[in-house]
C-alpha cells in the first residue's frame, strides 16, 4: 500500500461509497446481529456460539457480585478487574459482556483511524487499513463470542495515541494497567523506554511526528551518553507504570489473597500446557511431562524468544508501532502455548503498519496470507484427526506446528524486508523549534 502507487482517478467505485462513517455503522450493526444470533444458537443448537471462556468470566463475575472470590470458579485466570467489568451480566443481561467487548472492538477501529490521521495518512489508505481490522472475520467473531481481548487491544492503542500526543502520564497509567490485566504487554516496555529519548520526546509538549508523506528521515549519528539513559521522561514512565501495576496487584491481593497470585499471575508465567496447540513445544512438553524440566532446559528453550525480542527492539525501536507489531508476532510464534485468541494481539497492530509497507497485495501479500492461513488450516486438519477421530497423529501434528513456525518466520521476514522504515517521532533539532509550532 505504498503511497506512490495511489492515483485518485484509479480508485474503485466502492471505495467512494465506503466512507468511514458507513464502515463504522455497518460494523456495529454486524456485531449486534451476531450477538443476537449467538444467543439464538446457544439456545437451539448443540454447538454453542459463545466461547467457553465467556461462561467462565460470567460465573466469576456472579461470584464476585455475591461477595465471593471470583477464583472459586475453576479456570478463571484473569484479573479481578475483568470479573468486575462483567458484574452487570448478572444484573442486566448475560450479554452485557459481549456488548462491552464488541464496543471495544469498534473503539479499536476508531483508534486506528486516529493514529493514522495523526501521521497524516491519506483518507483512502486510512479507510482500507481500518477495514482490515473491522471486517476481519476473526475480529468480529472474537468480541461477539465473548472473548476479552478487544479490551486489551483498545488499551494498547490508547497508549500509542497518548504517546503520540505527548501525554506521558496517561500513557504510563494505562500501560501499568494493561500489564496487570494481561502480562504479555511487558514486552513493549523496552521499546517504549527507548523511544522516550529526550531528543525525540519531551513531556508536556506534543512531539513532532514523522508523517506518512515524508520520504526520508533525518537521523543524527547516535552518540551514546549515559546521562540520557536515565532521562526524566523515562524515569517518570517507569515510576508511574510500575506504581499502577503494583497498586492493582496489591489491591487484588488484598481482596483475594494467594489465589489471585497463583491463578492470575504465576500461572501465565509458568504455564506449560502439554495439550496440543499451535506451538512447536507442545509435543516436547507432553513427552517430558512425567519428569520436571531442569532450570537449564527451561533457560535453553527461552533463549530463541529472548534473542529475537532483543534483536527486534534494537533494530526497530524508533519505528515504535512497527517494532511492537513484530515483537508481538514473534512473541506468539515462539511461545510455549499458542491459541488462536493470541492472534488478535497483532491483528490490531497490523492496520497501523500497512500504509508503510511496500508489499503489494498481488502477489506477495496474497502469498503471505495464503501461506500463513494454509499452515494453520493444515495444523487444524491434523488436530481434527486427533481430537475428533481419535487417531494418534501426534507426530504429524507436531510437524504441522513446525510448518506453522516456518510460515510465521517467512511472513515476518518478508514484512521486515518490505517495510519503509519511518520513525514515530521526528528528531528535535534546535532550528526546528519554529517549524514545530507551524506544523501544529
Amino acid at each position: 500500500m505504498s503511497r506512490g502507487s495511489e492515483k485518485p482517478d484509479e480508485s474503485p467505485k466502492w471505495m467512494n461509497l465506503m466512507s468511514f462513517r458507513t464502515l463504522l455503522v455497518s460494523s456495529m450493526l454486524l456485531r449486534v446481529f451476531l450477538i443476537i444470533y449467538g444467543e439464538w444458537q446457544d439456545a437451539h443448537m448443540e454447538v454453542r456460539y459463545t466461547d467457553i471462556d465467556y461462561t467462565v468470566f460470567s460465573d466469576a463475575a456472579s461470584l464476585m457480585a455475591s461477595g465471593e472470590s471470583p477464583y472459586k470458579r475453576t479456570t478463571y485466570r484473569y484479573s479481578p478487574l475483568l470479573a468486575l467489568l462483567l458484574v452487570p451480566n448478572s444484573i442486566f443481561h448475560r450479554s452485557w459482556g459481549k456488548f462491552l467487548f464488541s464496543a471495544s472492538d469498534l473503539l479499536v477501529g476508531l483508534f486506528i483511524r486516529e493514529i493514522l490521521k495523526l501521521r497524516k495518512v491519506s483518507e483512502k489508505v486510512c479507510t482500507v487499513s481500518v477495514m482490515v481490522w473491522l471486517l476481519n472475520p476473526f475480529t468480529f467473531t472474537i468480541g461477539t463470542r465473548g472473548n476479552c481481548e478487544p479490551i486489551v487491544c483498545a488499551m494498547i492503542l490508547w497508549i500509542i495515541i497518548s504517546l503520540m500526543k505527548g501525554n506521558l502520564s496517561q500513557a504510563a497509567f494505562w500501560y501499568g494497567l494493561v500489564v496487570h490485566f494481561r502480562v504479555y504487554p511487558i514486552i513493549y516496555a523496552l521499546p517504549i523506554i527507548l523511544v522516550l529519548d529526550s531528543k525525540l520526546f519531551r513531556s508536556g509538549q506534543k512531539p513532532p511526528l514523522e508523517d506518512w508523506n515524508t520520504l526520508t528521515s533525518s537521523t543524527e549519528k547516535k552518540t551514546f551518553r549515559l546521562k540520557s539513559l536515565f532521562s526524566r521522561e523515562r524515569i517518570m514512565f517507569g515510576l508511574i507504570s510500575g506504581g499502577v501495576f503494583l497498586a492493582c496487584n496489591a489491591i487484588s491481593f488484598y481482596f483475594y489473597g494467594h489465589e489471585f497470585l497463583h491463578e492470575a499471575l504465576l500461572y501465565h508465567l509458568t504455564r506449560t500446557d502439554p495439550r496440543h496447540n499451535f506451538s512447536i513445544y507442545f509435543y516436547h512438553i507432553y513427552l517430558h511431562y512425567e519428569r520436571q524440566f531442569s532450570a537449564v532446559e527451561k533457560l535453553i528453550s527461552f533463549l530463541p524468544q529472548f534473542t529475537v525480542q532483543l534483536a527486534l527492539v534494537f533494530s526497530f525501536s524508533k519505528d515504535l508501532v512497527f517494532c511492537m507489531f513484530l515483537q508481538t508476532v514473534a512473541f506468539v510464534a515462539f511461545n510455549k502455548v499458542i491459541t488462536a485468541q493470541y492472534f488478535v494481539w497483532f491483528y490490531c497492530l497490523l492496520p497501523l503498519i500497512l500504509p508503510w509497507s511496500r508489499m503489494k497485495l498481488k502477489w506477495e501479500g496474497l502469498l503471505c496470507i495464503i501461506l500463513w492461513i494454509g499452515a494453520q488450516t493444515h495444523w487444524l486438519l491434523w488436530g481434527y484427526m486427533l481430537e475428533f477421530k481419535g487417531v494418534n497423529v501426534f507426530l504429524q501434528l507436531w510437524m504441522a506446528s513446525l510448518v506453522f513456525l516456518a510460515a510465521n518466520t517467512f511472513v515476518l521476514v518478508k514484512i521486515i524486508q518490505r517495510h519503509r522504515f519511518s520513525p514515530l517521532f521526528r528528531q528535535y533539532v534546535s532550528s526546528d523549534r519554529k517549524n514545530v509550532e507551524k506544523l501544529d
Partner: protein
C-alpha cells in the same frame, strides 16, 4: 439455578453407602461384602456425599464397608419382600475421538421406589465435565447429577485422581432406562504403542425413595441393586485413547530446538540487514 447448583457443588462426595439397615428378618447378608437387596438409609441428597471426606480412594471394599455403616433409624418404614430386579442390558462407549458418550441401558422391575441412582466410578484417564452435566440436567436428561473426586479438566491422567459421577433418574414403574453420559479423554501417560486402553467397570445401582428438597435431613431408604459386580458375562467396555510414544522423545526435543534456533536466526539476520540498509540509505542522502 444458583441454589441448586450450590447444593450439588456443596454436596461434595458422599460416603458410598448410607447406613445399611440391618433387619432381623433378612438373614442373607453376612460377612464383609454387601450383597444385593440390602437396604440402607441416607440423609443427604447424594449417596456419595460424605465418602470423599473420609476416604481418598475409590476402593470397592472401602466403599462397601462404608455403606455398611449407614444405618436406618427406627421410624423409617420398611416394606419387606418387595422384589426388585435390575439387569444391565447394554453398555458401550459410543462416538469417536476425545469426546464420547457412555451409554447404559438398564431394565428394571419393581414398584415402590422412585429414583434410580447410578454411581459411575470413572477410570483414570477420562473425566466428566460438571458444567456440561449441569446443562444436561437443566434440559431434563437426568433428574439430578453430580461429579465427585478430581474434576480438574486440564490435568493429564497421571497427575489426577479418579472421579465418580452420581446420576439420579426418576422412574415410574417398570421398563427400560437409558442413560447417556458425556465423557472426555484426558491426556494419557506416554507409552510404546501410541494408544492407552481405558476400561470401564459396571456401575453401582441403587433404588431410593424420592428426594424431597424441603426434608433435607429426613432419612430416605435406598435399596442396593448391584455393587461392584465385576465384569463377568459381558465383555468389558473399553476406550482406546491416543497417547504419546516414548521413542519419539529424543528426536522431537532436538528438532524442536533446532527449528526454534533456525527461525530465531533468520529473524535476527533480517532485522540486522534491514537496519543496516536503512542507515546506509540515510548516510547516502545526508
Amino acid at each position: 439455578m444458583g441454589s441448586k447448583r450450590g447444593r450439588s457443588v456443596i454436596a461434595a462426595t458422599f460416603i458410598f453407602f448410607a447406613i445399611s439397615c440391618l433387619n432381623s428378618i433378612s438373614t442373607t447378608q453376612v460377612g464383609t461384602s454387601m450383597l444385593d437387596s440390602d437396604t440402607f438409609c441416607i440423609s443427604d441428597q447424594y449417596i456419595m456425599k460424605s465418602y470423599f471426606t473420609t476416604q481418598s480412594s475409590l476402593n470397592e471394599s472401602e466403599f462397601r464397608s462404608f455403606l455398611r455403616l449407614q444405618r436406618c433409624s427406627e421410624n423409617i418404614p420398611y416394606e419387606k419382600d418387595v422384589p426388585a430386579v435390575a439387569t444391565l442390558q447394554h453398555r458401550e462407549v459410543a462416538g469417536e475421538g476425545s469426546h464420547r458418550h457412555l451409554l447404559t441401558t438398564i431394565g428394571l422391575r419393581q414398584s415402590h421406589l422412585h429414583e434410580l441412582v447410578i454411581v459411575e466410578r470413572l477410570p483414570l484417564g477420562v473425566f466428566a465435565d460438571p458444567f456440561e452435566l449441569q446443562s444436561l440436567q437443566q434440559r431434563r436428561a437426568f433428574s439430578d447429577v453430580s461429579v465427585f473426586g478430581d474434576t480438574d479438566l486440564e490435568q493429564p491422567s497421571f497427575r489426577s485422581n479418579r472421579s465418580v459421577v452420581e446420576i439420579h433418574v426418576e422412574i415410574n414403574g417398570n421398563g427400560e432406562i437409558s442413560v447417556k453420559l458425556p465423557l472426555h479423554a484426558r491426556y494419557q501417560p506416554i507409552g510404546e504403542s501410541g494408544y492407552s486402553r481405558v476400561e470401564f467397570v459396571e456401575p453401582d445401582l441403587f433404588l431410593c425413595s424420592r428426594y424431597v428438597p424441603d426434608q433435607e435431613h429426613e432419612q430416605r431408604r435406598c435399596l442396593v441393586l448391584s455393587v461392584g459386580r465385576s465384569k463377568t458375562q459381558t465383555r468389558s467396555v473399553v476406550w482406546d485413547i491416543p497417547a504419546g510414544i516414548r521413542s519419539h522423545t529424543e528426536y522431537v526435543s532436538v528438532i524442536t530446538f533446532v527449528a526454534a534456533v533456525l527461525s530465531a536466526f533468520s529473524i535476527l539476520v533480517a532485522s540486522v540487514l534491514s537496519s543496516k540498509v536503512e542507515s546506509c540509505k540515510n548516510t547516502k542522502e545526508l
